[in-house]
Structure formats: C-alpha cells, structure tokens
Amino acid sequence: MAEYSAFSLLKNALNGNQDWKPAWRKPDPKASYDVIVIGGGGHGLSTAYYLAKEHGITNVAVLEKGWLGSGNVGRNTTAVRSNYLLPQNTRFYEHSMKLWENLSHDLNYNVMFSQRGCLNLAHTPAQLDDYARRGNAMRHLGVDAELMSVKEIKRLVPALDVSGSARFPILGGLMQPRAGTARHDAVAWGYARGADRRGVDIIENCEVTGFLRDGDRITGVTTTRGDIRAKKVALAVAGSTGQVMQLAGISHMPIESHVLQAFVSESLKPIIGTVLTFGMGHFYISQSDKGGLVYGGDLDGYNSYAQRGSLPVVDEVMSEMLALFPGLARVRMLRSWGGLCDMTMDGSPIITTGPLPGMYLNCGWCYGGFKATPASGWCFAWTIAKDEPHEFNAPFTLDRFYRGLIIDDKGQGATPRLH
C-alpha cells in the first residue's frame, strides 16, 4: 500500500496521528558518495530523485546549507507552463510539463498541480501577432496553445477590465490550457521524501565551504560538517552559483544574481481561476487554493543577494495589477518577499557537464526555475549518470554564449535584468 493515501490518513487519524514517519531522514554525512548534489532546493532534490529512480544511482547525498527548500522553490509564484517561443525552451519545458502531469502519483505526494491554464494578455495588434507566433511555434511542437478573444477572456476572468477605455485595452490573449500552478513547498518535500525513500541522504544545515581537488578534477567538497568525497559533484544552487563557483576558483560566470519580489494578498473567495499575465508591463497573477492572490512583476534590476526588495517595484506591480483589475483596489497585500534569481545572458538555463572535470552544473534559471523543477532534475540526473546531456538539455551549454548559440526568448541580448 502506498505510504500516503486516503486509507492511511484514516488509519493514522484513528491512531491520533502518532505513527507518521518523518518525511525524510536526518542522516549524518558519510565519508564518500557516488554523487554529491550541492543544493537542497527543488532542482537539487529532483536531481537526486531521478538519479535514484531513473539511473539506479542511490549512493547520493544532497547537501543543503540551510533548511530544505529554502531557496526559490519556496519563494516563487508557483506557475507551471511551457509556453515558450524558441523550440529549445519549448521542448525542455514541455518535457517538464509531462512530468508535472504525473508528479503526484510518481512521488505519492500531492503537489497539487492544477492545470488551470495560463493566459498571456495582448494589448496591441503587434503583440497579438507575437503571441500567435509563439502559440503556433508551440503547436508545431505538439504543445497546446489557443488564441482567446476578448469575449472568451471576459467569460474566463470576469473581474478583468476588458473595456476599450482601459489605458491598454485587452485585444486578446494566448492561452495554454495545460499550464497551471502547483503547491511549491510540496514539490520540494515530495522530491525529498521520494529520494530519501530510495536511499538518498538529504543533509540539511551542511554548507559547502570548498572543493576537494585532484589537479583540475573535483573529488569532493569540504563542508561545515566535514569533508565529503564523491566521484561526481553536481551544483544546483541557483542564485548562489557565483559564490559556489568561486570556491572552485571560477570567478566569472555568464550570470548575475538579482532579486525578484513576489506578493500575496489576504485570502479571498475564488475570483481569478487561471494564471494571467499583463502584456504592457511585467505582471503575472494567480490565486492559490487558500485564496490568496499570488502575484509579481519585474526584477528590482540590480545585483543583490539580500532577498529584500525595493519600494518602487512594489508600487509598479500594484499599479499594473489594478490596470487589469480595477475592482481589487480594496484588496490588501498581506506579504511580500524576495527571491534570488540567477539571471543568464540570454534568459535560458544551463545544464551541463563541467566546466571542471568531476563537476556538473545546473543553474541560470532566471525566474523560470519552479516550472522547470521536474525536467531540470530529470535532465541533470541523465547528464550526471551518462556524462553527456540528454537531447532536451543539449542546447543549454555554458559555452553557447561564446559560440553565438544563444537561446534568447525575449531578444534582449546580454542584459540579464531585461530577461
């Protein structure tokens, strides 16, 4: 019988809930592993899970400097979508989407993936054409996409201002019906439990302080809980990539760490049923199962590790929200927070072997990391196990920038804050 089910819930309830086991063990680190994954966030945990599940590699440790899932997997706006323009991205994120669609079963953990759709609003004819280009690109790769008329949009989200008198009237939108939201923390916990039950050691409060080397080759790490050796060391540390690479003697990367704020309103009865983006600024919103409106906007726009946002961005995001929903002026913002985004020079991620022998690198998620969690771990595990990329992550090399093989979905060039 599955560890978690309606039946087990009932059985445990009758027993006063005294018999539940820890979701993951709290082991001490062993002296050596086949693979060390640095970073106990969504990507690190899913990497460990798929190493064990898909490749039978279970002698694995995930090292987390703080508490598990303390990075962006627990600080995002929970949207899951694969509505990209460029085929390299679409293929990868669609693979992720397919993993999402079966994730709760796979993990025996309800990650609450709800395919409530993601609608990108268009406000000019040119933008509508851009979305058509994107939607058609998706359709030619077998991904779902539809154009929606204003009337259909109004029916879907009655609270939207679709009047022609809006400053940026809504002319239509691009809908991906299979997109949606998931319960972000549950993703980290579900992967952690799944990996743990397959023998992976998840070690919290264990900060990597340096690398063990044999010449160029990485042979392990030094940590606040002692030295740990490993045949392969994989980095999945998102916003801290620059810091950890520096420990390996690599001072420069095609990455900047930026802060992105997100916001949640007080709990409300259902009013927005889909994920929605505004086309004349940078704004996205959905409503959580608890009823909070979860929304965000642009990066603050400068390098930061502070996980603290600035006030002008708050004002900007709220203004854009009310441009779409003038009825929500009296709704109240309950909480804001900042996440670290590892912004690359083209807005697309890096999943690759190297750059040093014995090292594997997963980073550059900009602010698209949450939806990538399953495919990122899946592809990274493949890359670690086979020492070569899967075709889904083959384009996401580190040297693509230098070779001009950039994957720039927004066409902004090497200005990370604009991706």
């Binding site: 978690y4 089910s5 087990s8 819930l9 009932l10 309830a13 009758l14 005294q18 820890p22 979701a23 993951w24 508490w67 899932g69 709760s104 953990y109 309800n110 990650v111 609450m112 993936f113 709800s114 409530r116 040119a126 509508l128 058509a132 939607g135 058609n136 030619h140 077998g142 400053r167 319960r183 923390d185 919290e204 007080e266 409300l268 009865k269 004349m280 199962d289 608890k290 009823g291 603290r308 006030l311 708050v314 709220m318 203004s319 009310l322 003038p326 009825g327 002026a329 009296r330 109240r332 309950l334 909480r335 804001s336 001009g404 093989l405 950039i406 720039d408 927004k410 060039g413 090497a414």
Partner: protein, 997 residues
C-alpha cells in the same frame, strides 16, 4: 443602554450615537467606538468563523492583531474584505458583514469540517487526493475535481468586481526624525526631538494618539495617562516642525531609511470631504527613525482557548477603559505573568465581577496577591485552565493544579462559572520593522521574547519595543531616543512621574497547557498544538518548515499572535532552546496594505500618454488610433463602412497613385554633436558616416555588442559637427542609453554630446508621384527639385511661415520627403501640407498603409529586428563596413550567428489568394491535424494593392536558398493553412526607380 456598556468612563463620546448594521442587523454605538467595541457593547459574542474548521470565534484582541473578527465593509457595490472589526471605526451608515460562513454566522455548514477532526490534521492535503493512476481521473483530474470544492470552501472574504471609485494619493516626505508609535515612549520621543528643533513626523496606526496611555489607567504627572497623552499631543500640534499622522500604519522599512506608511484618511467617514483621498501612501525618508511600536500580548495555548469569550487580558482592559465596554459580567483570568493582575483590577473598577485569577506560577508575589484581593478575585496560584465550556458564547472553564517545572496537571478539575476568560501569555515586542530593516531578532530568556536586533539602518528603539514594558521606562527611553535622534545631548531634566500598579516584566516560561482537547496556536488558520507536534514527528522542524507545513503564522495576522507559542511548542518537542529553532524574518508589510493605496495616482492612470503635435487632427479626421508603446498613432483613417483592409488599401494605393502623408513625429530623434561626432557615428553604425557630406542623410544600421542587429534609421549631417540621428519609435530610449553609455563609460575621450530631441521636432513624411509638386506648392525659401534636393539630400525652407527642414528619403518606396518643424508648429505645417496637397489628391495614411508599403518594399522594422536576427539574416550585410571596427563587429561572425540554418528574411505570396496573418508559421509539408517542423514564421503581412496579392515578410530557415520554391502557411491557432511562394523580400520596384525619380 447597551447590555455591556459601562455607566461611565471610556474615551468615547456618549452624546453622539452612531447607527450601523452588521450582517443586516441594526446596531448603535458611540463616536470613538470601533466596530468591535460597539458590537461587544451590544452583547455580540460571535464575530467570525475560522478558516479551516469554521469554528465560531469571538474577539481575541482589540487592535491590529485581531485574527478572528474579520469583516467585509461595504460601500455600495464596492467591497473591502478581511478587515479586523477592531480596526473599523464606526460611522453613520456603516455596513459590515461577516465572512466565510454559509448560510449565516450562527449556522455555518462549513462547521461540519470539525467532524473531520484528526483526518484534517496538518499536511493532510499532501497525503491524499492524488486519485487513480489510470482511468478517466488519472493525472491531475481527480485533484482538480477535489480542488474545485476545496477552493470554494477556502478563502475568507469575497472581493468585489465593481471598480473602486475612490482616489488614492501618494506623498513623499522627508524628516529628521520619524517616530513610529505614539504610546508614552513615542510621544516622549517626538516631543524631545521636536524640542531640539528637528523636523518630526509622528505616525500612529490607531485613530487616537497615546497608545497604552489611552487605556492603562495609569497616572502621569498627576493626570490620567490618557489626559497626559492628549496634552503632549496638543503641544506637538502647535509645533511647526511636527507632522502628526493618525490612522497611519508604517508598514515597510526599506533600504536607505525609506519607510512606507499608509494613512487611512477617510475610511472612518461616511462621506469624504471635498478633495480628500480615501487613503494616502507615504514614502518617508527619515534621517533617523524612533521605533516605539510597543508589544503584543501573547495568548496561552490550552484546550478551548478559541471559544468566544476567551480574550487577551489587555484587550479587555482596553475595551473597558478606552471604550467603556465590559467583555463579560463574570470574568476569570489566566496568566503566566504579572500584567494580568492590572487587568483584573481595571475590570473590577469598571464594574465586572472578577471571579478568579488562575496563575501557572505557584509563587505569586505579595504585591500581586494584593492586587487580586483588590479585584476581589480568588487567586488560584499554581493552577491552569484545562478546558472552557459553552458554544457560541462561553459559560465556564475548568482548572487543575499545575506544576510549573514539569507542566504536569494534578488533582481534580474544578469548574468555574464565567462568561469571559482573559489570558496573558507574556508579551512580544513589536519588532517587525526592525526585522524588515535587515537583521535577526535576539531571544531574551528572561523576557521570554525576541528583542530587536542591533540596528542595520539608522533607527533607535524605545519602550516596550525594546522589552522595557513599564511606562516609566518607556518615558525615559522615549525621551532619550528623541534627543539622540535629533542629535542633541542627553537631558538631566526631571522626567514625568508615573503612578502605576506594580508588576515584574518577566513571565513564567509556560506557553501551553497539555490537556485533552483542541488547543489553538494559530486561531484563524486552526493550527493546534497537536499539529505542531505532528510537524515535528514528520521532520518539519525548522521554523520555516513548521510554518509552511502547518500554515502557522500565514494568516492575516501573520503570526502576531502565534509565532512565539508555536516556536515554543516546537522547541519543547525538539528538546532545544527556542533560539535554536529560530524565528522567521518579518517581511513587509507590517499589516496588510490596500493595493489601491500602493498604486496611488497610478490607479486608473497607469502610464502617461504620448501624443504627437498632430494628434487632434488625426482624431478630427476619423483616425482609428492605437497604442505603440506610450504613443498613440493613427492606424487608418477609415471612411464610413470601410473595413480596415479596405481603408489601408485605399490609402496605400492613393499614395502610390498620387501622394500620401503620414505623421512620423514618434520616430526617435537624437542630436549627435561635437568635433568627434562623425568618428563616434562610425563606431556606432555598421556603415560609414564620416564620409557623409553636410546636407545629406544616410541610412544606418546599429548592432549590439554581441553582434546582433539592434536598430536602424537615417542620420542627417546638418553641419560638420552636427548630426541628427533618427531611430525606430520603439527603440528611441534604448538607443539613447546605448549612445550615452559608450560616450560616458567606454569612450570618454570622444568630444561628443548626444541630446534626445524626439519631442522637439514634429515630422511629416509625404510621398508619392505628386509629393514633390505638393512641396513645391507650399515650401518657400528653397527649391525642391532634383538638383536642389537629390535623393538623401536635405534643404531648409519655410512652410506657412514656419522654418522647416526637409530630407528626401523614402520608406514607402515612392519619391518621398520628411518634413520636420518645431513641435509647436507641427500642426500648422501639417495643415499647410494637407491644404497644398488637396489639388493633387493627397491622402493622410496610417500605420497600416505605412506597413503595407514597407512590406511591398521589403524594408525591415522591429518585427524583423527582434533582438534575435543578424544583419546577414536581414540581407543587410552590404551595410557592414570592412574598413573599420564598429560596435558588434568583433562578435558578429561567431559560429552560431552565421550558421546556414538561421532564419532569413524572405517574401511570401499567398497562392490561394487569402489573407495571411502575422505569427503564422511556414512548413514544407502541410499537416493541419498535427502541425510539425516549422521552418519559420510570418513577421508582417498585408494585401498589396501594388501587386494585387496577399503578401508577407517572413523569417524562414535558409530563406534565400528557397526563393522561387513553394511552402505552406501553417497557422493552427487561426486555422489558416495554404500554399505560399517564397520570394525575395523586395516585392515592389526592386531597383528603386520610383523613389530615385
């Protein structure tokens, strides 16, 4: 007389009666009442329903931290959900309704959730609802089916969709000292700083200044504390240096000592006065901040602690002393510290019977015993409450002997008849703003509280905020902080004298009484002590895991009541001291902030409108306008009954037949001037500009540093050192920043200045076979013939008495001219041109016709220069000079940028003679059912009147090699499929004979 209103006392105006409704029932209260105090005075005990179990709930608190009594305030159709009744000041005609209940507050079907009991423990969602692995409900379907009902059951209040017609305002303020909180500490700080001559802002989140002075019942300098506070406020009011902000919550502490505050200007009024906004958002830049934000009393965790009638002790004091309302007739108290004894005395004085004081400590000081006698209360030292009785109102409670060190209960249960139980679990300083400012709080074991960290920004703490809970300390610290903040030196003048009941500040370290029954830690979210222990059992032991797994601290009070008790229970389960479990970092806002206030003036007015000088003419002449960035531009000048296509086809055809005129004022215009201007342009553009002669223009292309195409436009050499650069409308700002960056950072040695002159010039492009004749008819001071004005030549002249600059260049492919004049005279010149054109059949055309003619010519715009294409992709490699380096030249030949399968610009002709759509894709093999293998996409399309065909520009893999071949448009989104021929992008007049004339 209301059943619970005291005979006398309180800071309300008993002569003013106010009428309001709650859940449709009519009530009265007095000026100065909150909705909570007024309803309490009317004998209401049931205020709300909890989030998960829909348990009946009464008032827990009297201030912002209230978690239970949330209401929706209605103003007509406009709804304001989730407001604590404790923060709603009543006004005549106030309409408030309860939330999260169906059909009514008293009878709520959702209360059936309680039957789920232990099944609905923390984290149960994660363990079920996955549904079947196969069959029609596999994948996410079963969860989404369940989620539908869960979502409807969840949520608190209902938001409205009717647009809020209120106005919101933003103020930027600067001061030497911002004092947050106006209790005795804050008042003293403000007074002391003001006396030093500092510019002071004093912000108080409540309607009345004074904080605890309004209800402590203490005496300061011989007057009641409330009168003393009023006197200080009076003195501050008379001071020009001081700005007093009541009803103003400082909710955010941002970088650079910038604080964000929300002033509720008219929420307490039936009708705002003329010009008054609903709320005002203050961004305050303070040299120094005094944090005098006080503290919160903590609930105790014991079975039945959520029953309506169980309240925080100080809240009852407040209701009695500030509002003249008794929360019960027979009151019991339950405490782990001395402060509840003062509450007991206060309530006794106000007329309640205080039946018992239950104190977990067996050693109670003589002074406290005396206070208990004074309250005529039975003192049950070494006891604890183990249960409460009653349904929607409390009827009694049960107590047992309690051993402080072990937490063990012993002896028989004794039942006490009481309709109200006041609890005090110690006090937590309100350190939210200090935490937001950037540092971690420090646990103080004596106070059993997190105290503020060392400042990381420029703030000074005072009073209960620092853990100094007595009024005398608050006054001393407040004055010292005010003086220090204002840069003064310490004062030895005597301090105001406080007479207060005695009491030690340190509580016994008891947070929970472990007895049978549900003991609530987070009231709103129904998180029980058992839930915390379940989280521990399952390994969710870090404070963040606890929070996220159980939702403890995530309710609208954001843990103001629950954080410390929850942490203490987890610490006990772990066998660790509290600080090792940690505390969460507080993040903005301190209390929830309306989204309207944050948008402020931008609510309803998101972005500025940019209008060209000829805007009104376009409107008057039937133009359909549309947004292009911030600009508004004419799309078509449609005639009655015309479709968009008919209109642009008519406009384009007329232009090619006779002449057309279009407003090009939105083009970016940058003056590039100085001795090194030509050199600079050689570096910026891919082609040469130093060879351009004065009085001529040249088309130029810019790349980004990474070698991709950036922007194009013409640049005119007006003098040896004077160029006028034009950019695309969309990229004007970006190009300007690009130029400035290179001049300022990379090549500071170049003597060049760049100035944005987009808004200084109005531009009209006039083209077509008759264009020259029209110009000749209205231009004075210059000839416009081929000799005087050859292709790409520039002349100066006059139209309608206005100096103009005319450049002969063409985007439409016709013989065409751009006429620039000072923006203020744009309309005059435009009208003169229109007038002069009348005999020649001149038409005004919009962007659709402009687009049509540029597609026919195969010119590129932003749809093709989309940040992903190179000069070669767009067949602009002829513009890449080999004689000089330019920005992007070193990077443009990298392998990925010259790969043979890149998308290249081509022309398309629809072979089925049907319209094409922008964003349609191109395939070699048509498969409408299962579209695949796109080789490119349409960037722009139109019906070409010149060709009589539907045509398009497209970016297609290996495009040039496909000229003359057939492919298909594949547009599943719009169900448009059909054959096309791939051709050169130069559809029309490829050798340019028409524009060269």
């Amino acid at each position: 007389m209301s059943p619970r209103r005291t005979e006398t006392g309180g800071r309300i105006d008993r002569l003013r009666t106010i009428r309001f409704t709650f859940d449709g029932a009519r009530y009265t209260g007095h000026a100065g009442d909150t909705l909570a105090s007024a309803l309490l005075a009317n004998g209401v005990t049931l205020f709300g329903r909890s989030f998960k179990y829909h348990r009946p709930r009464g008032l827990l608190a009297a201030g912002v931290e209230e978690p239970n009594a949330l209401v929706t305030v209605l103003r007509g159709e406009v709804r304001e959900p989730n407001i604590p009744a404790t923060m709603v000041e009543i006004y005549d005609g106030l309409v408030a309704v309860s939330q999260n209940r169906s059909p009514s507050l008293a009878w709520d079907i959702g209360a059936l959730n309680q039957l789920g009991g232990k099944l609905l423990s923390a984290g149960f969602y994660y363990k079920t609802f996955m549904g079947p692995v196969i069959g029609p409900l596999k994948g996410t379907r079963f969860w989404m089916f369940c989620e539908h009902f869960i979502r409807r059951a969840a949520g608190l209040g209902r938001a409205g969709t009717a647009p809020d017609t209120s106005r919101y305002e933003r103020m930027n303020a600067f001061c030497d000292v911002l004092v947050v909180g106006s209790g005795p500490a804050g008042l003293m700080a403000a007074k002391a700083a003001a006396d030093q001559g500092a510019r002071v802002i004093l912000a108080e989140l409540e309607a009345k200044f004074g904080g605890s002075a309004n209800w402590s019942g203490e005496t300061i300098d011989g007057a009641s504390a409330a009168d003393w506070a009023a006197r200080i406020v009076g003195q501050l009011e008379g001071n020009d240096n001081v700005r007093l902000l009541p009803r103003t919550t400082v909710w955010g502490y941002y970088d650079g000592n910038t604080l964000a505050a929300l002033e509720r200007v008219t929420d307490h009024k039936e009708v705002p006065a003329k010009g008054e906004p609903r709320q005002r958002y203050w961004a305050i830049r303070a040299k120094t901040v005094v944090l005098a934000t006080g503290s919160f009393e903590r609930p105790l965790v014991f079975p039945g602690n959520d029953r309506p009638g169980v309240m925080l002790a100080h809240a009852a004091e407040r209701y009695a002393n500030e509002y003249g309302v008794l929360p019960g007739e027979r009151i019991a108290l339950f405490t782990n510290n001395d402060s509840a004894y003062r509450s007991a005395v206060t309530l006794k004085k106000a007329g309640a019977a205080v039946v018992a004081i239950v104190d977990v400590r067996s050693d109670v000081s003589n002074e406290m015993s005396r206070l208990a006698s004074q309250a005529e209360a039975e003192l049950l030292a070494g006891h604890a409450v183990v249960a409460t009785e009653g349904g929607k109102a409390q009827t009694g409670l049960n107590v047992r002997r309690f051993e402080l060190m072990s937490g063990a209960l012993s002896g028989d249960e004794r039942s006490i008849h009481a309709d109200c139980l006041l609890m005090s679990g110690g006090w937590s300083p309100t350190i939210h703003l200090a935490s937001q400012a950037g540092a971690r709080a420090i646990w103080n074991p004596a106070r059993q509280a997190f105290l503020p960290p060392q400042p990381t920004q420029r703030w000074i703490g005072a009073g209960a905020f620092t853990g100094s809970f007595s009024t005398a300390e608050a006054i001393a610290e407040g004055r010292a902080a005010g003086i220090q903040a204002a840069g003064g030196s310490a004062s030895s003048a005597p301090l105001p004298v406080v007479e207060a009941v005695p009491g030690e500040p340190d509580p016994a370290p008891v947070f929970e009484i472990k007895a049978k029954g549900k003991s609530f830690v987070d009231f709103q979210h129904d998180v029980t002590a058992e839930d915390v222990r379940l989280a521990h059992r399952e390994g969710f032991v870090s404070v963040e895991h606890l929070k996220r797994y159980t939702t403890l601290g995530m309710a609208t009070d954001q843990g103001k009541n629950s954080n410390v008790p929850g942490l203490a229970i987890m610490a006990e389960a772990l066998g660790k001291p509290i600080p090792e479990v940690g505390t969460t970092r507080f993040r903005p806002p301190y209390t929830a902030v309306s989204i309207g206030s944050l948008a402020a003036e931008r609510f309803g007015d998101l972005k500025p409108d940019r209008l060209t000088p000829m805007h009104d003419w376009h409107i008057d002449n039937g133009a359909t306008m549309f947004a292009a960035g911030l600009w508004y531009r004419p799309m078509i000048y449609g005639l009655a009954g015309e479709t968009v296509e008919q209109a642009y086809v008519r406009e384009a055809a007329a232009t090619r037949e006779s002449a057309g005129i279009v407003d090009v004022s939105t083009l970016g215009k940058i003056a590039v001037q100085g001795p090194d201007a030509a050199e600079f342009l050689d570096r910026v553009y891919t082609n040469m500009f130093s060879t351009l002669t004065v009085g001529k223009a040249r088309y130029g292309l810019m790349l980004r540093e990474d070698g991709l195409a950036f922007d194009d436009g013409t640049t005119w050499r007006l003098g040896e050192q004077d160029f006028l650069m034009t950019t695309t409308t969309a990229n004007a700002g970006k190009v300007m920043q690009h130029l400035e960056y290179f001049l300022d950072v990379i090549w500071p040695e170049l003597k060049v200045t760049v100035t944005s002159v987009t808004d200084e010039w109005a531009g009209a492009a006039i083209g077509g076979p008759k264009a020259r004749a029209i110009l000749a008819a209205c231009v004075k001071g210059t000839a416009v013939d081929n000799a005087a004005l050859p292709f790409m030549g520039i002349v100066h002249g006059e139209i309608a008495g206005v100096p103009v600059m005319i450049c002969r260049l063409s985007f439409s492919g016709e013989m065409a001219f751009e006429v620039y004049s000072g923006a203020g005279y744009g309309m005059r010149v435009w009208e003169a041109l229109i007038e002069a054109g009348k005999p020649f059949g001149l038409v005004a055309y919009g962007l659709e016709a402009l687009g049509t003619m540029r597609i026919e010519k195969g010119h590129v715009t932003g749809a093709e220069i989309d940040g992903r294409t190179t000069a070669r992709d767009l067949h602009l490699d002829w513009m890449l000079s080999k004689k000089k380096p330019f920005i992007g030249s070193a990077m443009m030949d990298r392998e990925g940028l010259i790969a043979p399968d890149r998308l290249e610009l081509v022309g398309l002709i629809a072979l089925d003679n049907r319209a094409l759509d922008g964003g349609g894709h191109i395939v070699e093999e048509l498969d409408a059912e299962n579209p695949h293998d796109s080789i490119g996409h349409i960037t722009a399309c139109c019906y070409s009147p010149a060709l009589g065909k539907y045509i398009a520009l497209a970016l297609v893999k290996g495009g040039k090699g496909r000229h003359g071949t057939r492919a298909f448009v594949s547009d599943p989104l719009r169900n448009r499929f059909g054959p096309v021929e791939i051709v050169s992008n130069h559809f029309y007049d490829p050798d340019g004979s028409r524009m060269h004339g």
